[in-house]
């Protein structure tokens, strides 16, 4: 039983990692007033670019860096459409997801298409943060990126509430006219938010290909990006609550994996679908009190 719980908690942290990256990334975008539906595509593209760069250069760190750069570029594209041109955010975000997904698949076909076997790389290894202590030691045997994700939570909270940038960000998502009148460049601020967001999302994708899987498949993201969109609402746009939300989702997925091994007779797809169902229920309950950034989805134009 003890082993079950320890294994469960360790897996929860691991599964939550890409969700934390993705959701924090989306948090920056939405707090600035932009619903970024390009997240699914950005995570997928980040996973691919990271993998391809790592496979090509033999260096995992270069792969990670390349992934982050790809996320930044994705953020810039969203900025061009939603901020500078003021295009409908729903459709442009989805268009970016479709484009980046197609680009990644295309790129994969070009670079690895001729391989008969699924290519793989030597992935990141896990770091034992607390040595070999029983229980906690096992739980805290995670990939480096997982620790980074956990650290990012308080860092993002600090940025949002204790820096000038965070103040401006919170302001522009609620009232861009006021922010503009205060002399802050709304377009630049939103673009920076999208760049940070894109970079974080791509890191989430790269975690999956460079650490967890050590390879790249077309199903690697599998809708996690959309879950992040839901998680943000569930977390009421607060970084600390993002952590708990990601743990909840990770927990349900992890539970499903553990229960499979115990031989409980339930269709495994039900478990895979469970987190999504839980999210919809959670949304229905949390949705009533959601504090949407008031200016979200409205492009800002000064005469």
């Amino acid at each position: 039983m003890e082993e079950f719980i320890v294994g469960f908690l360790a897996a929860t942290l691991r599964i939550a990692t890409p969700l934390i990256f993705g959701t924090l990334g989306e948090l920056f975008c939405e707090r600035a007033g932009i619903l970024n539906l390009g997240i699914e595509g950005t995570m997928f593209f980040g996973a691919f670019v990271g993998f391809a760069a790592a496979a090509g250069t033999g260096s995992l760190l270069i792969g990670l860096l390349a992934a982050i750069i790809s996320g930044i570029l994705a953020g810039l594209l969203m900025s061009l459409l939603a901020v500078i041109l003021g295009v409908n955010q729903h459709v442009s975000g989805l268009g970016i997801t479709l484009l980046l997904t197609a680009l990644a698949m295309f790129g994969f076909g070009i670079i690895f298409g001729h391989n008969r076997v699924l290519p793989s790389i030597a992935s990141f290894s896990q770091i034992k943060l607390l040595g070999d202590i029983p229980i906690l030691g096992t739980i805290f045997t995670q990939y480096g990126l997982t620790y980074v994700a956990i650290l990012l939570i308080p860092i993002c909270a600090w940025i949002l509430y204790h820096t000038n940038f965070g103040l401006n960000l919170r302001s522009v998502g609620q009232n861009p006219e006021a922010t503009d009148a205060a002399g802050i460049n709304v377009y630049r601020l939103r673009t920076i938010a999208l760049i940070i967001g894109g970079g974080l999302m791509a890191m989430g994708g790269a975690f999956l290909s460079l650490a967890q899987l050590g390879s790249f498949t077309f199903g690697i993201i599998n809708g996690r990006g959309w879950v992040c969109i839901a998680l943000i609402i569930f977390a009421n746009w607060e970084p600390i609550r993002v952590f708990w939300g990601a743990l909840l989702f990770g927990g349900v997925s992890s539970l499903q994996l553990r229960l499979q091994t115990t031989g409980i007779q339930l269709p495994y797809e039900a478990f895979l679908a469970l987190p999504y169902i839980v999210t919809i229920i959670a949304l229905s309950l949390a949705g009533r009190n959601a504090s949407y950034p008031a200016a979200m989805l409205k492009p800002y134009k000064r005469e």
Partner: protein
């Protein structure tokens, strides 16, 4: 340059007709970059995309086949968007319709075509509607963003389909994850022998015409357009906006369900996981390119179907990954989105 300035007022007519053409040109120019990366000739690629599919009867008919589900999902999405409801769940609603149609087609082998096909249509429509119900209710009564909920519903039903095909409906003979075949009577009649073009296409055209009249000529249509344009103005004028949106969302789901039914009865004849290759999401591209006008949507669907057919030819002929077609489509969407805004501006002398 400095003698002119950009002013916000409707663009002149000549500029507006130029925009779609410019968008197409720009998209192809951008896509050429990827063609070149893949080591092929851009002109050869675009010949294969746009001309080659129309050069033979069989592939021209195949274009119509590929366009059919896109016409339906495009119309489904258009219907919802018109009322201001962003139905991103057409993909899932399509699957719901496919499941229902397959179930009917498999379990009633004794019924003749005249009975079972309409039954499958009704079943597909209702199933699509039901799958659209929860996000619609959440939006209308709890104001929860429908984009997120419809996306999640898409994921959920994919798992359900996987379960069905690997367990309950696994084909007993082949062992593959595909359902048993539907009865012969449940097949859509083939329109042209030796091609895949079937009555599904007719159904799609009929739906386009019905939806056109619904939106443009009925009170519901006017109420929908009012709700989508300015919900508070519509409410003031006495329109029951929540109910209108709910209706639009459900009918949209139903039409997407019909798309699924069409694939079952016209193309696949049994349920498989890949019954849709992103038709629901591509429907959004089609709806946007078509300017949310039913007739424009039909034309856009044909165009995207053309590119889709062409992308296989391109792939075979030039050794380029087949996803090039997806790149062209999504680039076209983004470029068109950007250029649609140009309709609101004109250049004037200072």
């Amino acid at each position: 340059m400095f003698k002119y300035k950009i002013v916000r007022s409707p663009a002149p007519v000549w500029m507006r007709t130029l925009i779609p053409i410019a968008a197409i040109l720009l998209s192809f120019i951008i896509s050429s970059i990827f063609v070149i990366i893949a080591g092929a000739n851009p002109f050869a690629a675009f010949y294969n995309f746009l001309i080659a599919p129309l050069s033979s009867q069989s592939s021209a008919l195949e274009v119509l086949v590929k366009s059919t589900p896109l016409i339906l999902t495009g119309i489904a999405v258009t219907f919802a968007f018109t009322a201001g409801y962003y139905n991103i769940g057409a993909e899932g609603q399509l699957y719901a319709g496919a499941i229902a149609a397959a179930w009917i087609g498999i379990n009633f082998p004794q019924l003749p075509s005249e009975v079972i096909i309409p039954l499958m249509m009704v079943g597909g429509f209702v199933a699509g509607m039901l799958w659209a119900l929860i996000p619609a209710l959440l939006k209308v009564y709890l104001k929860i963003d429908e984009v997120v909920t419809t996306l999640l519903m898409n994921s959920i039903i994919m798992y359900f389909v996987s379960y069905l095909l690997n367990d309950y409906w696994r084909n007993p003979q082949s062992g593959y994850p595909q359902s048993p075949d539907i009865s012969a009577a449940a097949h859509f009649v083939r329109l042209v022998p030796k091609s895949r073009l079937n009555a599904d296409f007719i159904m799609a055209i009929v739906v386009v015409i019905i939806v056109y009249f619904l939106i443009r000529r009925t009170p519901l249509g006017l109420q929908m357009r009012a709700s989508g344009a300015n919900a508070s103005g519509a409410r003031f004028a006495g329109v029951n906006v929540p109910r209108t949106m709910l209706t639009a969302a459900l009918v949209s789901g139903g039409i997407a369900g019909l798309a699924g039914m069409g694939e079952i009865a016209g193309i696949q004849f049994h349920l498989i996981e890949a019954i849709s290759s992103n038709f629901g999401y591509t429907g959004i591209i089609v709806a946007t390119l078509g300017g949310l006008h039913p007739l424009g949507v039909a034309v856009a669907a044909l165009f995207i179907g053309l590119i889709g057919t062409g992308s296989q030819t391109v792939s075979l002929a030039l050794g380029v990954p087949v996803y090039l077609g997806d790149i062209v489509q999504s680039t076209l969407l983004l470029v068109t989105l950007g250029m649609l805004l140009l309709q609101n501006y004109r250049i004037e002398r200072r």
